[in-house]
């Protein structure tokens, strides 16, 4: 059926209906089917004629002096085109996300197990591998500095970076610190105001992002002396910013295009093989591809900071919080990465979504010879949530109160103040989330009559036919910020073009946003449909031809780049309508775009976009900045530090085999306020994924590091949840708009990762009666070790 446009005729009913694939709809993501069928092209699938394979030699020691590097034997291997060390780097030798403290290739010193020392380019990966083995390195092996006690006693144990090399506020193996005091702080007088005080020491193991697509990319030298890099990353422009000085190229000669990303979760926020591939391409004049193997991937990206935390909470007899005193020690490993920002988050969010009149906090990140830690989903808020939520349960037990009621009694809401002094100026329905999650129906009890081992802890491993199984239920709630904080302006850019293609108006959206699986490209198309009243939207490949889109992290992309797409589309809309006014002399004040036409609420269809555009295009670029934030005061932690807050509440139901210490999470319920669900299906997917990653941290995911050495760099021994470990995850979504955000939306991806872990641990405590001060909870913690 063809639709004819009759000017002035009132046929709005048909066309004013918003596209079902606009915002609020759930169109399917374009990459979904391809990924399920194995047809999606990932960065590791890149190919170029004549390309070489790059590979790095990595240190087997966590701490050593490099006495010599002999590359002569490696160079002799037939098929080898280049062997490079730090001496071959044309430009700056150090780079870094926030602090330039990491050498592109090790210089005289090894600071962590797996640090890259030299690079090989060869005509075949096997050749490269053989050549890497022929590089002879003489080490003076040193005792690694790995524990908190060792790090904080540099006089005895030494420095990871010599103090005269510090490029920031670091001191004595402390990479960054943030203090915070609010109210009266925590003094003896304040302590005396509390009827009940509970304290605890908590520990969080090192979690990995565990994305399935290994670090990979293809660097192609260009005729202008520049380089084109096809890369799986989270932020094209910040990669370029770090790469260009090392390659000694102006930024415009380093051009990046996003390749297919196989998961990120923060692990691609730092540089991995980008600089290495480009160095080899520059040196050989040939395209160079690097793909990490699985074990190399574990060495090649940063992890979640392991943490040791001390918490003390005081409350009145009726459960009102009086004070919180906390110390959070994050192990940042060898290089700074995102440690300063992670510390900022831990310090400013480390009290949870509660109103606490008096607070003292000290958060630090250490430099150590452990693997570097940086961004991972939840970013500094995850570790703290395990601490404060464990404390809430402890306090409830001490007071004989219901743990949900205790939380509700102290829950923050709109108008309250964060311990940073920042007033919460949009909905913060913390008590409501808890009420809803508690009201969700509980799963049925274990059916002992018709046992199916797949439903029991251990499942097909056949460890129980009902023996030893105890059910537990636990609750938690968490807080996370959205966007970059502390005065950083992480703006996003979007370009939107509207033109007629094949007789239809088509919008094209061009941003540098890294689609890492979050569904951003789907949402961009939805925004363009809604704002421009068109059905057809194409997404331009993400590259550095357009301005920065900021990072795909901090739950920020829909807010920030989605916001930029909205701004650009609105500008295109205005321009198009202006064009019509100029041509047709319209004077209506109620003109909008819908169904491929320019329409007036009162007069009906004015003209079709096809006729109005002809063969011209409207092509506009806009930047979206969030409202400015402030740095936290170093000593008091005060400041309007965060753009937006997001909250999620969970309930976990677990079955524990208390004799064997095996756990089956039976159900994990989530209730979250998302402001506005632009794509409800994606929102639910994000919340379920976030919960699952939190489940992994609760019961299995840990990089085990002993004396600075990674012991389980494989998916054989770094365990992530399988479908049999992943329970049903009922999700309830609230949509309470944030007046400061585009469409009123709230970032979604991280809140459940922050909040869900403590609910699972609480449920295991409920089943076992054990204290469980460390995550992940391992079978031996529930049986033979029983700490606490």
């Amino acid at each position: 059926m063809t639709t004819r446009t009759i000017q002035g005729q009132k046929n709005l009913q048909n066309i004013n209906q918003a596209s079902k694939d606009g915002i609020g709809g759930s169109p399917l993501r374009p990459d979904g089917n391809l990924k399920v069928k194995g047809e999606f092209a990932y960065s590791s699938d890149l190919w170029h004629e004549d390309m070489l394979w790059g590979m790095a030699l990595r240190s087997p020691h966590p701490r050593a002096n490099i006495l010599s590097v002999d590359i002569s034997e490696a160079l002799k291997v037939p098929g080898v085109y280049a062997v490079l060390t730090h001496e071959d780097i044309p430009g700056a030798k150090y780079y870094g996300l926030e602090i330039q403290d990491q050498p592109a290739l090790a210089i005289d010193k090894i600071r962590y197990h797996g640090e890259a020392i030299a690079l090989v380019a060869a005509d075949h990966p096997e050749t490269a591998r053989r050549a890497v083995k022929k590089i002879a390195v003489e080490y003076e092996v040193l005792t690694p500095i790995v524990t908190e006690e060792q790090c904080l006693d540099p006089e005895t144990h030494g420095y990871v970076h010599e103090p005269h090399e510090y490029k920031s506020h670091a001191y004595g193996n402390v990479c960054h610190e943030q203090r915070l005091v609010s109210g009266l702080g925590v003094t003896d007088e304040v302590r005396a105001l509390a009827d009940v005080i509970v304290s605890g020491d908590y520990e969080v193991g090192m979690q990995d992002q565990a994305f399935l697509g290994p670090e990979s990319g293809l660097a192609v030298p260009a005729e202008d002396g520049g380089i084109d890099l096809y890369i799986a990353t989270q932020w094209l422009h910040v990669d370029r910013e770090q790469m260009a000085p090392v390659l000694d190229l102006p930024e415009e000669k380093v051009r990046l295009t996003l390749a297919g990303v196989g998961g990120a979760f923060g692990g691609r926020e730092d540089i991995s093989m980008q600089i290495h591939a480009c160095l080899l391409a520059q040196h050989t004049g040939k395209p160079v591809k690097i793909v990490y193997s699985r074990d190399e991937s574990f060495y090649g990206h940063v992890h979640r900071h392991p943490a040791r935390m001390h918490y003390e909470h005081g409350a009145t007899r009726d459960g009102k919080l009086v004070f919180a005193d906390c110390r959070i020690v994050l192990d940042g490993g060898a290089y700074a990465s995102a440690s300063p920002a992670v510390v900022g988050n831990a310090a400013s969010l480390g009290h949870g979504p509660y109103v606490i009149p008096n607070v003292k906090m000290h958060a630090i990140a250490l430099y150590s010879n452990n693997p570097s830690c940086g961004a991972m989903r939840g970013f500094g808020a995850v570790q703290a949530a395990f601490g404060y939520e464990s404390q809430m349960d402890k306090l409830a037990a001490e007071l004989g109160m219901d743990p949900v009621e205790l939380r509700q009694l102290n829950a923050m809401s709109e108008g309250d103040f964060m311990p940073t002094g920042q007033q919460i100026d949009s909905p913060a329905p913390v008590a409501e989330l808890l009420r809803r999650v508690k009201d969700m129906p509980l799963p049925p009890p274990l059916d002992t009559e018709h046992l199916d081992v797949r439903q029991l802890p251990g499942a097909l491993s056949n460890t129980s036919h009902g023996e030893g199984i105890v059910r537990g239920v636990g609750y938690s709630v968490g807080i996370k910020n959205v966007g970059f904080s502390e005065g950083f302006d992480d703006y996003s850019t979007a370009r939107v073009r509207l033109e007629v293609i094949g007789g239809e108006p088509v919008a094209m959206v061009h941003t540098a946003m890294a689609e890492v699986g979050q569904g951003g490209v789907t949402v961009h198309a939805q925004i363009a449909r809604t704002e421009l009243g068109v059905e057809q939207v194409t997404i331009h490949p993400a590259n550095t031809e357009v301005g920065s889109a900021g990072s795909t992290s901090a739950s920020r992309q829909t807010y920030m780049t989605g916001g930029a797409v909205k701004l650009a589309a609105e500008a295109v809309r205005r321009e198009l309508i202006e064009k019509g006014r100029r041509r047709y002399g319209w004077t209506h004040q109620d003109i909008t775009l819908a169904g491929g036409k320019v329409v007036s609420e009162s007069a009906g269809v004015l003209v079709s976009m096809v006729d109005l555009l002809g063969d011209e295009a409207v092509d506009l670029t806009r930047e979206h900045h969030h409202r400015p934030t402030q740095a936290f005061d170093k000593e008091t932690g005060q400041g309007f530090g965060h753009v937006q807050y997001t909250f999620c509440a969970n309930r976990a139901v677990v079955d524990v085999d208390v004799e064997l210490g095996l756990v089956k999470v039976v159900e994990l319920t989530a209730v979250q306020d998302v402001g506005k669900a632009l794509n409800p299906l994606s929102v639910v997917g994000q919340i379920q994924g976030g919960c699952t990653q939190a489940l992994g941290l609760a019961v299995m995911e840990e990089i085990i590091v002993r004396d600075g050495k990674v012991r389980n760099a494989s998916f054989t021994d770094y365990l992530i949840p399988t479908i049999l470990d992943t329970p049903p995850i009922p999700v309830e979504i609230l949509e309470l708009p944030d007046p400061h955000a585009p469409y009123g939306l709230r970032g979604v991806g991280e809140a459940p990762t922050v909040s869900a872990t403590p609910s699972i641990v609480a449920a295991i405590r409920n089943a076992t009666g054990l204290a469980l001060n460390r995550i992940p909870v391992r079978p031996e913690h529930l049986t033979t070790e029983q700490p606490g």
Partner: protein
Amino acid sequence: MEFLRPATWDEALAAKAEYPTALPISGGTDVMVEMNFDVHRPSAILDLNRITELTEWSNDGSVVRLGASVPYTRIIEELSGPLPGLALAAHTVGSPQIRNRGGVGGNLGGASPAGDAHPALLAAGRDVFVEAASVRGTRMIPIDEFYVGVKRNSLAADELIRAVHIPVADGPQQFSKIGTRNAMVIAVCAFGFALHPKNGTVGTGIGSAAPTPRRAVEAEEYLRDVLAERGLWESGDLLGAEVVQRFGELVKAAASPIDDVRGTAEYRRHSLAVMARRTLTWCWNDYSKQIRSAA
């Protein structure tokens, strides 16, 4: 690297005799992973996948002859009657993809202490034999002599595994395995148990808790004697808590586990005792039901 693809068993034996360092590949679920992780780079690979007889099994009523390459999926689907312990163990191996490729020949070839077939094979009795062949002839290696060290078996350099001979179950069998997730996990430790009413013995197998898979000999002997002395084989009466407890303790004592990234030695001992008690109880309950319904 040479890639040898014999079409027949004799060709395979000839190739292995000519290239004793050639690495056999069957399902490849161990071999390919190890190559990926650069554990070894064999000079030659001997592909057994064209030899169809390796994927066949037969059952003469008392012994199953299981071809080395029969995948776990088919053991589960076709052999859970005669080989219930091995079928339960097969259920716990990897994922559907791995169970479709991997088999007992590969598990024996790797001889990892964590291989899940081993505890089930040990528990199936002392009359389990690995049929090993070379151009020199065929040897029937008793399962108790097969595992000689960490990831080492008693095959000679020119030998290949053709089949495993396993007595058809004459009583209930069980297999339990501990892993820190609910699927797709290498055993922290594992335990296989079987009752053999015909000859009045019981079988045990311990996995991942010693340098090699091993039998809990004293536990087997203790239980055998108790069952005989108290006439329990005939009566099918309850074993009593202290017998079950003691059996668990003896299994625990038979292990010599280590601490590693998968678990602690102490936890391994502890959980072996629990698994021993539970599998014994399940088997005995089944057995006494049989006895009583026969009576």
